[in-house]
Symmetry: C2
Subunit: 343 residues, 2 copies
């Protein structure tokens, strides 16, 4: 069955069922916890709350951000939510409510639309996010847009706290969560149509298709006093350059300390470091703070936190340098992802 | 110059300039009022605030929701923001922060992208909305998605108040703001390529291209005690049916009282009433409340508020009836807009 067969309202009804709520809502239906007005009205209304709000949005377009013939719609749903949760994690916040916009060709299969919602809801449940409806529109090309709100951590004095890109200071250390390059490795395997089902190959594909946003570490970090951080979405080198420019500093990375998974080394051997430095979509966190602060985050984080470099004053030349154990520059380019420009 | 020539970051820089803020942000740049973290980071962070949050999103796809060859990109920008502001107005809330996602083909003209932002910013300034960035993605087809947050009115006891679709009660009267059908009339003229430049034709086109969300009336209404309302986006008959079903009531509309503009009567004569009953995209408000409450809104609203019918208990048959002066049913169908289904 296709979208054109049941129309927008028929599809909304099915997708609402996937979220476990009736549509159209009955007059007696209670809104979900945290909501005063649930789906099915002009807009969503939360209960009264005293906080700072975090807002972010991210879109995935078929054929641009993913290959529909190579990945499952359920994974697309997961990832569409997860990448937004990662942006909230990058500020040290807690995600709360998501609006989802599906742009669907009329011939899009109902079952695929439901699979997207299954994946969205899986990621939402994991991070205590409420999916609060959104919009479904006809379009010649599939895309999914998530707009996610969350709340910022408050200090003991009640001031909102968030990690930004412009708060790196010379003397700070640079750390990252997890391992880098796995997602780019997984994408490479998907593009090549790699049929091996080894543990390493499956791990890399999973890292590409089901990224795990580092919400817990982000919250630990901001509470511990980390004021500078972001998530690694465009590739480590490019993302560190964002921080270096925004903070007007330089960053030096020790190549030997960049965390690379055994799986990435096994499958990509010598290319692993390059993928770790420039591959996009890892959704790990970069944290920049004095060494003692990073150490306290490391002890409390539920995922590995690894120091990879340091912040230096900026004079001239490149903002980001990657050096080998002898201190020599490793060329890597600053090119990350820009979907519009030719490579 | 085209998007592919300057890339995503080049375009973001130009569009930020259109909003009057530097990009990439300098370390010394202060965030705009109401924000703790402005554009250029992973997410936007507001200052701490004590309120209930309203969230909504709406998308316009080229060729589906508008005809790019017939309307200006500046008007597209205005409308993309205005339709979201209207959803907040429909809850009686105050809009605050917008995230904008542009899906652009690589050959899209930079000047057109800037014109969209000019229109977005015009609508944003009018309603004190801060445009807080968003996402720019490559796509074979143009679309613009706005996700808008706002705040709900609080009662004297501090409880959030919002107008919903499920709060109509038998005995309430049904009222609408402004006049209905103008937007559908304007669309008809655009489709026909109507070249006349009479006042009436220009007025109808403007009503289609630059809808004016009724924020002031929505706020007056919710303060006056109106608990049921929505905006007219799919056509009066279909939207009243949403209210009637959600509230489990019936609604009777007196055709003679439905406000129709002189311009619509002049250009469409006998068809004017049909357009007013079923035409979409008016973005006027429907308000449902006891007569005395509606009267107090009418006195305070900066746009006309007209009683058009009443709420009745529901037994069986159609939820919404439109009757002439002799009380006879006027057939109109409940069909409104469903972009997926054939007419």
């Amino acid at each position: 069955m296709r979208v054109a067969d049941i129309g927008e309202f028929g599809l909304i009804e099915l997708l609402s069922k996937e979220l476990g709520i009736p549509y159209p809502p009955s007059p007696d239906a209670l809104p979900r916890p945290g909501l005063l007005v649930d789906m099915g009205d002009d807009a969503l209304v939360t209960g009264r709350h005293d906080a700072a709000t975090i807002l972010t949005t991210d879109t995935m377009v078929a054929g641009v951000h993913f290959l529909p013939e190579r990945v499952s719609w359920r994974d697309i749903g997961w990832k569409a939510l997860a990448v937004n949760v990662s942006d909230i994690a990058a500020m040290g916040g807690e995600p709360s409510i998501a609006l989802v916009t599906l742009s669907l060709p009329p011939e899009f299969l109902i079952d695929d639309a439901i699979a997207i919602y299954t994946g969205l809801q899986e990621a939402a449940m994991k991070h205590a996010v409420v999916i609060g409806g959104g919009d479904i529109v006809r379009s010649p090309v599939f895309s999914v847009t998530v707009a996610l709100s969350g709340t910022a951590d408050l200090s003991e004095l009640g001031q909102p706290r968030a990690m930004t890109r412009h708060a790196a200071r010379p003397g700070d250390v640079v750390a990252v969560t997890g391992s880098l390059g796995d997602s780019a490795g997984g994408l490479q395997l998907l593009i090549e149509g790699q049929s091996s089902n080894s543990d390493a190959v499956r791990y890399l594909r999973l890292r590409h298709q089901r990224p795990e946003p580092r919400v817990q570490t982000g919250r630990v970090a901001v509470k511990a006093g980390v004021r500078c951080g972001m998530d690694v979405s465009d590739g480590l080198a490019q993302d560190l350059a964002h921080i270096a420019r925004a903070s007007d500093v330089a960053i030096r990375v020790d190549a030997a300390r960049v965390p690379v998974s055994d799986a990435l080394r096994e499958v990509f051997s010598a290319r692993a470091l390059g993928l770790a430095l420039t591959g996009g979509e890892d959704y790990e966190l970069v944290l920049v703070a004095p060494a003692a602060v990073i150490e306290s985050v490391r002890q409390r984080s539920d995922v590995a936190v690894t120091e990879i470099g340091e912040v230096l004053p900026y004079h001239e030349g490149p903002r980001v340098a990657v050096v080998d154990e002898a201190g020599r520059d490793i060329p890597f380019g600053e090119a990350g992802w820009d979907h519009f420009q030719k490579r």
